[in-house]
Structures are given as C-alpha cells and as structure tokens.
C-alpha cells in the first residue's frame, strides 16, 4: 500500500496546476461558456497537447492506458480550478466506452479524434423516467435491412451534450426475431439526420442537452457495445467515472476551503478579524475534517474499482455518499462564511457550491447511492478487512 503519488503522477499534477494557474481564469471561462455554449477550443487543444486526452485510451489504440489513479490526479486539479472542460464525458467515459468496443476502423478513428481534441463525446443515458437507472429507458434500436440500425427515443440531461461531436447512446436493442430486448450502446454523430439537440445551461455554467432521436438511420458499425456485455461495460465505466468525479469534487472542496480560510483572515467585523472568531474557526476545522475523510473515501473507492461488480458498486456508492455529504457541507458553509459576498455570482465561491451540487446529481445522487449501497451490502455477515 502506498498513498503518495508516483513521479509520473506528480509531473501530471504539476502540468495541470500550471495550466490552471497560467491559462485558466474562472470569470473569463464562465463568460465564454455563456457566450459560446462550448468549452474553449484553444484550451481543449492544450488538453490534447498536454496528453491528458490520451491518458485513458488503451495502449492498443494509441493511448497511454493510464490508471484511474492517474485520471484522479487530473480531475482533482481541474476541480480545484473549476475548469469547465468536457473532460469526464470525453476523456474518461468516452475513452473507456470506445476503448471497450471492438477495434474497428470507425472506432479507432473516433479515438484518434478524441485524443487529438477533434472529437468531443457525450454520454446520452438519461431519459424522462430513468432517474439514474441505466436500464429504465425506452430508446429503441431496431435493425433495418442488412446493415442499418434505426434509433428512436428521447434522451435528456446529457451533460456536455451541447458541444459534443458524437453521442454514446444507450438503447434497447431489438433482435429481428423478437425475443428479449437488452441494453446496447451506440455511437451517434451529432450531425446525423434525425438528431435534434436542445442546448441549455446547467447551474455550474456548463451546457447540457436534450437529444431527440427521430428515426436516426445509422450503419451497423454504430453499434459500439452489443447487448451481451453493454450493461457490464457501462456499469464499470460509470463506476470509474464516478470516482473521477469524486476526485474533481475533492479538488473543488479543497479549493473552496482554502479560499474561505483566506477570506476570513482578510476581513474584519465588529473590530476583529473574522478568522479570530472561535465559532468560525471551528467551522473551518469541521470542513477540514470532512474533506480529509472524503479523500480517504476517494482512495477506498479507487482501491475497489477492480473488485467484483457488486463489491465495486457498493464501494463506489459508499465513496459517493461521503463525497455528496461532504460537498453539501463544505460548499454551503464556504458560502456561509463569506457572508453576503458568498452570494455574489461574480465572486468565485458560489461557483464551487454549484459545481459540487451538479457533481452530486451526476450519475447518481445521494439517495440513489445510499440505496445501491444498502442493496449491494449483505446486512449480516462477518466483515473482513475493508
């Protein structure tokens, strides 16, 4: 066991930190996002040049085949800086799902585009009635002729969906002869005929989309993961993504905490530095304790990513429960300790809270994770090592 970063991870962290401090400016980013409905191409190209988009692509497809630990190093720093890039959608989920597909020329081309920053991806899972349950969907994929697939359905709340070049879409695949229908994953270019995209902002200033699929005809190579393993591949990719998100949340919490401590030191009220009030000091301490505990649970989640699916699910949900609770406390108290200033949109601290709330409702929320945890945890058995 070893908790310290490897030399490579330290270098990676330093490069992200350098990007955040030298290239990134929160206010400018939020304005540009609002204006362009799209994360800066210039910055995204830097992501590609710095190799961050290669990281999670399998070596066989020309990527670095990095570990989840590596990815958390990047995500944590992006979180600390509130960088609004489609990193999770493209470089984590996109890379994982494309990487799990058959190495067809189409897939390899997509992965090249992904790594070079030319192709942004978004995962279109959610539907009106699904509420984080990947199989509670009604989007249908129907074989048509010999080598065509027709998709019909309505995806909602597709994060980073507004500027995606292609969507990875979950749908129920009907075999021609009828029989049982199963979840499968498809790649749908956003430019395909019949794809209608409604773009809108989420509270963190990023953009999501509702994606209507109206008789979208695709070549059969659009099938990325067939139904015999789609569910398993998707659950695994989502659990990995959740842990990367946890790491982003951790960075955001640490950023908010540091900013809050600085603020308290610089302000006076009733003739004393705010930081000299014991009740505010103890609040900072409580925030610190929650953040450290969240980091511990991030590590625990990471350590279980290769475990059996049920154990992995329970461990990831345990991590996300902790992250969710810590994020709500740390984010809201960061605002509270800033007083009125914490409410101002032009001041950064509220953006931490809003990003943390979005993370807390992405790919599962507190109650979904708590529920999954209790379902995956046999309630009475001998407990071995955690």
């Amino acid at each position: 066991m070893k908790f310290s970063l490897t030399d490579e991870q330290s270098l990676l962290r330093d490069s992200v930190r350098r990007f955040v401090s030298e290239e990134h400016d929160l206010n400018r980013q939020q304005e540009a996002l609002r204006r362009d409905a799209r994360f800066s191409d210039a910055h995204w190209n830097m992501f590609a040049e710095l190799g961050w988009l290669y990281l999670m692509v399998p070596e066989s497809a020309g990527g670095l085949g990095g570990s989840a630990e590596d990815a958390t190093v990047i995500a944590e720093e992006l979180g600390r800086g509130l960088v609004g890039a489609p990193f999770l959608s493209t470089a984590i989920l996109g890379a994982a799902l494309l990487g799990a597909g058959e190495p067809t020329p189409q897939r390899n081309e997509l992965l090249s585009g992904l790594m070079e920053g030319r192709c942004r991806l978004a995962l279109a899972l959610e539907e009106s009635a699904s509420r984080y349950e990947v199989d509670a969907i009604s989007t249908a994929a129907q074989a048509s002729g010999d080598d065509e697939i027709v998709l019909n359905g309505q995806k909602v709340l597709v994060q980073d969906g507004a500027d995606a070049d292609a969507f990875i879409v979950s749908a129920i695949a009907s075999s021609r002869g009828g029989g049982i229908s199963h979840l499968a994953l498809y790649v749908v270019p956003s430019s395909a005929a019949g794809v209608e995209i409604r773009r809108y902002r989420t509270i963190d200033g990023r953009w999501a989309a509702d994606v209507s699929l109206n008789n979208v005809h695709l070549p059969s190579s659009a099938l990325l993961i067939p139904s015999n393993r789609a569910r398993e591949v998707l659950e695994r990719a989502l659990d990995h993504a959740r842990i990367i998100l946890a790491s982003e949340a951790l960075g955001a919490m640490e950023g908010a905490l540091a900013m809050t401590a600085d603020y308290l030191k610089g302000r006076t009220q009733f003739g004393r530095a705010l930081a000299s009030y014991q009740s505010l000091q103890h609040r900072l301490s409580d925030m610190f304790v929650k953040v450290e505990n969240a980091r511990s649970m991030l590590y625990r989640g990471l350590s279980m990513l290769d475990a059996e699916p049920d154990q992995r699910a329970a461990a990831v949900s345990a991590t996300m429960v902790t992250i969710n609770q810590a994020a709500e406390f740390v984010g809201s108290q960061a605002i509270q300790l800033h007083g009125g200033m914490g409410m101002a949109e032009e001041y950064p601290i509220g953006h931490f809270y809003k990003r943390l709330r979005v993370i807390g409702k992405s790919y599962g929320d507190l109650s979904w994770h708590m529920n999954r945890y209790t379902q995956m945890t046999p309630m009475v058995e001998m407990q071995g090592a955690a």
Binding site: E126, S128, A129, R131, Y132, E133, A136, Q154, V156, L157, Q159, R198, Y200, R201, T202, I203, D204, A208, D210, T268, Q269, F270, G271, Y277, S279, L280, E328, S332, I335, Q336, G339, G340, G342, M343, A344, E345, E346, G350, H351, Y353, K354, R357, V358, K361, S362, D365, L366, S367, W368, M370, N371
Partner: protein
Amino acid sequence: MDLKFSKEDEAFRMMVREFVRAAVPSDMALRTRQGFHSTKEDLQTWNRILFEKGWAAPHWPKEYGGTGWTPLQIYIFEEECAAADAPFLSYFGLRLLGPLIYTFGSDEQKAALLPPILSGETFWCQGFSEPSAGSDLASVKTTAVRDGNEWVINGQKIWTTEAHYADRMFCLARTDPTVPPQKGGLSIFLFDMNAPGISVRPIITIDEGHSVNEVFLDNVRIPADAVLGRVGDGWTQAKFLLSHERVSNAQVPRSKRDLELLKQIAAQERAGGQRIIDLPEVRQRIAELEIDLYGLEWSVLRELFNGHGAKSQPIASGLKILGSEIQQRLSTLLTDVLGPKGIVLYDEKEGSGDDLPGNAPSYVVGSTARQLFLRAASIYAGANEIQRTIIAKQVFNLSS
C-alpha cells in the same frame, strides 16, 4: 392556558380565505409559486388589491391604516395569503419603514409618507448594509454632513434589496463622526432614488437573479428635514427594527406553503414506477421537516402572545435560525426530489414551462434557483452565527 384556535379565529380564517383566494390573479399565483423575486408590477397590483380592501398593513395601528386585528388574526391572514400564492408584499416600506415612521417620525412625516406606502404607490429600499459592515451597524461609514439647508450624503451601500425599482431609500449614515454610533452618531435619512449622485449597480446572485444591488451615494444633497425623527437617533431606530420584526424571519406561512408544494411534487415524481414520496428515506425527510415546521409555527404563535418579554430578542434569534434552516432544507429537499433535473437552473426565462429542458414538468420552474438563493437565508438579517451570539448574551448573560 388555552391552546386552541377559537371559533372566532376559525371564522376569521374562512373570511380571509374566501377573499384572498378569489383576489389573487392566477398568473400572479403561478409566478409566486415559482418562488422568484416578485416583479414590481405584481407587488403593486397585489398591494393595490389589499389596499382597496383595507388590508395592506394589518400590523399597523388602526389610525395609520391598520386593521385592528389581533396578532393571531394577522398571522392567520399571512398564512392564508401564502396558501393562496399571493405575492409577499414589499417588505421595506410596509414592514420596516412604516413602523419606524409611526414610532419615530414627525407628524409631517407620518402624514406625508405613510399613505403612499400603504397604497403601494411608493416603494422603499433599506440602505443599512455597507461593504465593510455586513451585520455590524456600528461600523457604518456613509456620512451625512450638514451644509446650509441641506444634508450632503456620501458613501456606499450594498446588498440593497429592490434598490433597482424602489422609489426612495431610508438610509443609515453617520451624522457626527466624533460620537460613537451607539451614542448618537447615527441618523436615518429619507430620500428619492432619482436624486442626483445616486447610482445603482446590480449584484447578480448565485441563482443568476437580480434582487440586490450596490448603491453609490456621491454628494447626494437632500433637504434638512429629510431626517427620520431626530438627528442622532439612528442607532435606537435600527435596534427598534431588530426587536420589532420578531416573528417574520421565521417565514412560517411561506414554508408551510412550500412544504405543501413539495409534497405534491414528490407525489408526481417517480423512480422505477414508484412515487418518490413513497420512498422511505423521502417520507422520513418530509416528516422531519413537517414536524420541525410545526415546532417553528408554534414558537411563532407563542411569541405572538408573549409581547416583548425578556426573552423576546433571543427567541426572535432562535426563530431566525430555525426558520432559515427550514427554508434551506425544504428547498434542498425539493431539488433532491427532482433528481437529475436538479442540475438545471429553471430560471425565470423558462416561463410557465410548456417545453422545459430535461423534458421536465412545469412545477420545476424556480426550484433550483430558489434553492441557491436561499443559501442567503442564513446570512441576511443577521447571520445565524450572530443570532447565536445574541442568544448567548441575552439568555445566559455571556459576552464575547
């Protein structure tokens, strides 16, 4: 002890309910339900309706236009207004300045200023908070200097709610820099917002809404008689406000309505075919909120009957703490009930919501924005930490 609503009270409730439910226009009710800051038009319209009924300021003494109702009746009235989704009338004229005027103002001020507040003709904003002051009124830096027949006011106010559509401001300023604020160095001035030298800069809050502002006062010249009551009484007047509005920060009528709406929404949202309201964890959170809200409501009822007792101020502080926490818990639970839709702002621009992002039903409009804005509930009107200090001081005689 008599712990029941009397038959008269219940009859009064029915009388009020009948009028209010019929009187609130349905589009206005929808906007109120969405929980955004009311438009000036809605505030004026509803103020005018109540004014014509004689109910615009039930808590004022009858001689100034009040209704003569008991405190309990006033509370029932407010509850029925909230239940009918009536807008919450502008606070600053009716709840704050009005009482200041009829308590401290000259006869001329009473005659001139109270009627247009009552009718909704004049909207006021409150110039108390400053960038370096926050909850600490002793460090107000805005100055008012006498120059012949005028006062010249210089300074900066912040977090000024409704300054962008208020007609006038009541403004705390230092009139004597040689005297501590607590000892007569502060006064309250009343002036038009269109006076030369006043500029208003919007502060957009984290809900992307605009209800508060910065106000810059740059050599604003106002007549000598624009002081509320006597020069130097500003500290006393500001403290009066703190102890006067003891129960309104509890926000019980509104939270009761919000809880009702929350339950209706939780009965419509579904997960895997099950109503969200039927999930044990949600039921439990709703029940806990409901029980805590009952407690808050009965604390308000107790305080209505207590008058200004020794514990009145700390009780008010407790109501502020619990009331703000309940508002925050309620609005947060609502966004949680909405599940993944809780990441969308669903702000005013979404309108009444026929075709909402995320294919969401119309009841989502306002939910997320309000949750975010309500982070302010534990900050404004004296942050909750300050309320705890007030309690420690006044109940246990402990100083910091």
